[in-house]
């Protein structure tokens, strides 16, 4: 059975591909880090908003919440 033929890459093509791959990896890492940071930031903001809402509801209902030690 004959061996399939493949394109033989030149050194320049291999180097360029390696550089592109590094750039893609860097871009992906940056994207993941950004999504993570934004998720944490938004969760924090939402938690603060929920706490403020709960406090306002408690005050309106006259409920006294003991402060945590």
């Amino acid at each position: 059975m004959s061996q399939p033929e493949f394109i033989k890459l030149t050194d320049e093509q291999v180097k360029a591909r390696k550089r592109r791959n590094i750039a893609i990896a860097f871009g992906l890492l940056l994207f993941i880090a950004t999504v993570y940071a934004i998720t944490v930031s938004r969760m924090h903001a939402n938690n603060e908003a929920r706490k403020a809402q709960d406090t306002a509801q408690n005050i309106a209902a006259g409920v006294v919440v003991p402060e945590a030690n």
């Binding site: 394109i7 890459l9 320049e12 093509q13 360029a16 591909r17 550089r19 592109r20 590094i22 750039a23 994207f31 950004t34 999504v35 940071a37 934004i38 930031s41 938004r42 903001a45």
Partner: protein, 338 residues
């Protein structure tokens, strides 16, 4: 002498045509820098500048991290539209001195690669902007990309001399997106900033086209000087300037701009008008650029003596827009506590 009507050259390149001669090989030696060039970094910097101005002028209450990510998303979205434009316009770009060094036109990046790159960045930038700020901002960014890459590049650019007038809206959206990202709203003040860039675009682009009309004609793009002649273009530049300058000054009187903005917009606006008047009275663009007696091609941005008023207006238009938005930024800085 009566100017013959504009005709598209026979066999004009189409964005749907397969690239043959200049198509990069399947395994390319494209560098990351080539892909960065696809994003049109100089246009991107202007987009970032106007978007940040819109964001700060909105005086929203936005965490710094979200603001930074939003600006990056807007910049990448604008860049993605640029990549799609280059992918679709590779053959046309190859015909013009100003654009023939672009990665797709020069054959360094394959058309399909540029297209994929543009689509992926578009999707990611819109999604991330929507998640980070709000979906009004994300939607406006998506609309800008579709408007520029689809409506302007595929439909308008080759069909009408008004291409730059209608297509200019794409470049005018960033301050509105910035405003929407900061507040979740796009009030009339944001649209006033939009209107400034929208009305600035025709005099700016046509002034450039007056001294590079030969390239546009060769590429089959019906820019105003090619389609209607230099005299008509000079008149239209003046008419647009007469509308643009009052609009540029308007923020002073409606509470968007303050004293600094007022001084900059009025003095700069009067000078803009003076340059447009000088251009109107000149003969700029009457002699299309062409190869000289020994067949040597004129260098890019070589300006004939009679075309200097066009070059002056083009250069000052960039400075004026920068000055307007810088004035808005400077005035807002004390409010945000910097």
């Amino acid at each position: 002498m009566e100017r013959p009507p504009f005709r598209f050259p026979k066999g004009r390149p189409s964005p749907f045509m397969n690239m043959t001669e200049r198509q990069a090989p399947i395994v390319t030696t494209a560098q990351p820098e080539d892909f960065f060039q696809l994003l049109k970094p100089r246009v991107m910097s202007l987009v970032v500048f106007t978007a940040v101005t819109g964001m700060i002028a909105a005086q929203g209450n936005m965490p710094l991290l979200n603001a930074v990510v939003a600006v990056i998303c807007i910049a990448v979205g604008a860049g993605a539209a640029g990549a799609l434009n280059m992918a679709l316009e590779g053959e046309t770009d190859a015909l013009m001195r100003r654009t023939r060094g672009r990665p797709v036109a020069a054959g360094r990046v394959r058309k399909n690669d540029a297209m994929s790159f543009g689509v992926i960045l578009s999707v990611f930038s819109v999604m991330l902007l929507g998640m980070t700020t709000n979906w009004l901002a994300g939607g406006l960014l998506a609309m800008t990309i579709v408007y520029y890459a689809g409506f302007y590049t595929l439909l308008l650019k080759r069909r009408t001399p008004q291409n730059i007038v209608i297509g200019g809206a794409a470049g005018a959206f960033p301050p509105v997106i910035g405003w929407a990202a900061a507040t979740g709203d796009a009030p009339w003040q944001a649209w006033l900033l939009f209107l400034i860039i929208f009305l600035w675009t025709p005099p700016h682009s046509w002034a450039l086209a007056l001294y590079s009309a030969g390239d546009y004609a060769k590429a089959g793009i019906p820019m105003m000087p090619v389609a209607r002649g230099a005299k008509s273009t000079r008149l239209q530049i003046l008419l647009y300037t007469l509308i643009f300058v009052p609009v540029a000054i308007a923020p002073t009187f409606v509470g968007v701009g303050g004293v600094i903005y007022g001084v900059v917009s009025i003095t700069g606006g009067l000078f803009f008008l003076y340059l447009a008047l000088r251009l109107w009275r000149s003969r700029a663009g009457d002699q299309p650029d062409k190869a000289d007696a020994i067949g040597r091609e004129a260098a890019l941005y070589d300006v004939r003596l009679e075309a200097k008023p066009a070059r002056n207006l083009f250069a000052f238009s960039i400075l004026y827009l920068m000055a307007l938005f810088s004035a808005l930024l400077v005035e807002q800085l004390p409010i945000i506590g910097v």
